[in-house]
Symmetry: C4
Subunit: 265 residues, 4 copies
Amino acid sequence: METFIRMLKKVKLNNPILIEGLPGIGNVGRVSAQFLIDQLKAEKFAELYSPHFYPFTIIHNNVAEVLKNEFYYWKDPKGKNDLVILIGDSQAGESGGEGHYDIVEKILDFSEELGVKMIFTLGGFGTGEIEESKDIEVLGAANDEKLISKYEKYGVDFKGSMNRIGMIVGASGLLIGLGKLRGIDGVCLMGETTGFPILTDPRSAEKLLRVLMKILDLEIDLSELDKKSKEMERFLKRMEAIQEKTLKKLISKQEKGKENLSYIG
Amino acid sequence: METFIRMLKKVKLNNPILIEGLPGIGNVGRVSAQFLIDQLKAEKFAELYSPHFYPFTIIHNNVAEVLKNEFYYWKDPKGKNDLVILIGDSQAGESGGEGHYDIVEKILDFSEELGVKMIFTLGGFGTGEIEESKDIEVLGAANDEKLISKYEKYGVDFKGSMNRIGMIVGASGLLIGLGKLRGIDGVCLMGETTGFPILTDPRSAEKLLRVLMKILDLEIDLSELDKKSKEMERFLKRMEAIQEKTLKKLISKQEKGKENLSYIG
Amino acid sequence: METFIRMLKKVKLNNPILIEGLPGIGNVGRVSAQFLIDQLKAEKFAELYSPHFYPFTIIHNNVAEVLKNEFYYWKDPKGKNDLVILIGDSQAGESGGEGHYDIVEKILDFSEELGVKMIFTLGGFGTGEIEESKDIEVLGAANDEKLISKYEKYGVDFKGSMNRIGMIVGASGLLIGLGKLRGIDGVCLMGETTGFPILTDPRSAEKLLRVLMKILDLEIDLSELDKKSKEMERFLKRMEAIQEKTLKKLISKQEKGKENLSYIG
Amino acid sequence: METFIRMLKKVKLNNPILIEGLPGIGNVGRVSAQFLIDQLKAEKFAELYSPHFYPFTIIHNNVAEVLKNEFYYWKDPKGKNDLVILIGDSQAGESGGEGHYDIVEKILDFSEELGVKMIFTLGGFGTGEIEESKDIEVLGAANDEKLISKYEKYGVDFKGSMNRIGMIVGASGLLIGLGKLRGIDGVCLMGETTGFPILTDPRSAEKLLRVLMKILDLEIDLSELDKKSKEMERFLKRMEAIQEKTLKKLISKQEKGKENLSYIG
């Protein structure tokens, strides 16, 4: 079996932007993307299945389904940028690269077919500290320097990300890194969070969403985020077993990258 | 080498139903399927070999054979549903998904060729407790909601399965989850068992078989099950080494899924 | 890169028999096959390279060479059965099955091209005890029952092998198990040895060779075996790193199979 | 996704020699190759991407890039041998062989296209001791005996390498070992170093470069090596997470090979 995308509905999109929010540290990306889907009433139009996910079948809403990623779309009423939002139960289950690269390439193939020219990937950055809401920052990494000046005015800290993060693990990084090789612009936005993998962090998601709303010129009511996050957390806890391996690595690797280091290349 | 199916005999089947009983928790599925084969005098007609099994060659009946899965068939004298029964020495040996997905897809390809429209997968659900025989329940998970009302009248607890199980690991789940994508109906039936991997549980198998007999309108004498189980246990103990890795995962993962959690999807 | 066989010399063989002696427990098979090559002055005619070996390059005779398996041939002066002897630095390095199955299938493809109809695989069986030379037995496993009566008269204990061994791990088992599916007869001969992976056991190899000489009607002077074994041990010790993982598994798995268990299949 | 090479510039090279300096023990090879690139002002003309690298995206110079290897070229003003210098963020991330073999074969395919007939691979050899600068030796391993007499006059200890090293792990060994099968000459040069993976060792690199300069008849000012190494170390520290697994193996395996053993093959 190869990784494949199953179309549920044929869609025609106008200058679409891809927003990725797969499970990760603090589930910041997953929660943000799910909230976006709910509030925008985005519609599912495709699913991705892969042998690189764990061989798990989850039971929800009484029905057994294998692990998958899901693509939702939203038509921009202003006619500027339609959105494609990618969420999912899991990233690739293996610790090696093959599964991750394979799935990300399939997502990029599909994105190109849809006409995507810009990708925002959403994630959390584990600080190891419990911070006051007001102190939570949104860090950014771009796949092209021109994007930094374009987006740092929205309150994204790009310079901090290099010094403090150093390295992004998994789909959020690969999508923009490999996207670059296809001429797709990409920015990874990371909300600071304590870094306990399963402790879903709605406050970090809120900060992330506020930045994203400004960038995309969206109007979303964030008042229900906290409540929604709590419900979502219950589901995500069930995914704990799946995320365990990947996330343990994610964190230990990212922690190590937090030194102020420069590259002499 | 690719996973392949070796035909031993060409068969023509009438509305066949696939019943899977590969090794798993408490060997409930394996024991049930083997007993069904013995009592129905089902005949082997195909074997599946795969590089995703461990590189082990087992010696039984004096002959060395590599690990394999086996397909048996039974012609329904009532002319309603012939049965295809799948048993085997092992599931995929790797902890990642690739081997599991690959083998399950091959089984589904073969099932489609045979005209299978319905799959029952048999397994155990480890409760961590030693229960009285009378308290052993049969839990179920379906790949389509319509199947729940159809089968819960036979004493299958579908609602409990979502709350208590949450997740099925390995072939029993994937067969119905990936079968769904091909339009094949599927139900996973799980007998409660203590959950020690190698402690073969004939009592749980008996409960499972009673439910399955009612569903399939079969008449089988279960009185020999206990004796047969003891013999089978000896064989299955030799498979311990193979099952160890897979099962350790199976259990630890399923244990984690036993919380009462709902999905906000 | 795929596993491939590199021909060094084109040979035409008469009713060839394949003898495999890759590294394994006590290096019994490796030592036996090497001694056979030396004493028969067999000539190397092919090499097998594989990405499933560890990425190691070994330096011997001053030259750096990647890990490989080697095929030697010997023309039987009696015109009965030419021999193909397979030795090597390593078996597949991974713990999963894919590498093992892949390499064994390539060896079988090549064997069929050469006209091989019979395979003897040589190995050790770890007893966990240090036995007197006179007590060292040669156990056997056959891929067809007819072979048992044919070869047990040479002093091979086939019944003991089922009860005590239960399972063969790696190439020695797969070659005869997968060979069977191609209609190639195969017998695995195992000399009892203590079972410390790197403690090369020339006494066990001697017993094995005595049986093999009788079976193949060969005349070889075994007096130098002990000396040669000591030299070989030095080389094999350098391979320790490579064998470590595979052998740890080999042993722990085989130990578990040593119970007197029967199969109710 | 397959491992692929992305051309940045088409080049025509004159009798090119490939010099490999990927990360490894003491980063001796990486530091040496980087310094060579800097001092010769070699120009990047190709990049290699692979799913066998870890799924990491590193942020340097403010830009997020996936792990890659890089090819630089230098036109020899004397018209003798142009150089192709290969450096990179990482070797294959998996402990098994497949990734390593795959990437090395791609490098060799590319080298053949460029007309490479000779390869020097650069690495460190961990002695476990902190040695005086004057005592640091350069050990060598060749893929053909004729190369030993050709290069030992430059101060490379080939005999010591067999007795003390025994085995090379990863790309430095495979490039010359697999290169041999294509008729490409290859020498692996290893500077002695303490063997702490991340403790970049400019003194060992200096010794290595002095030997290489003599061999290649290059004139390079080594006075800045120490300073450059320190800067480089900062970047390489960030790669620590990536190298960890591979290097732990590298060292433990190489340590084991340091006995005085000969091969009776």
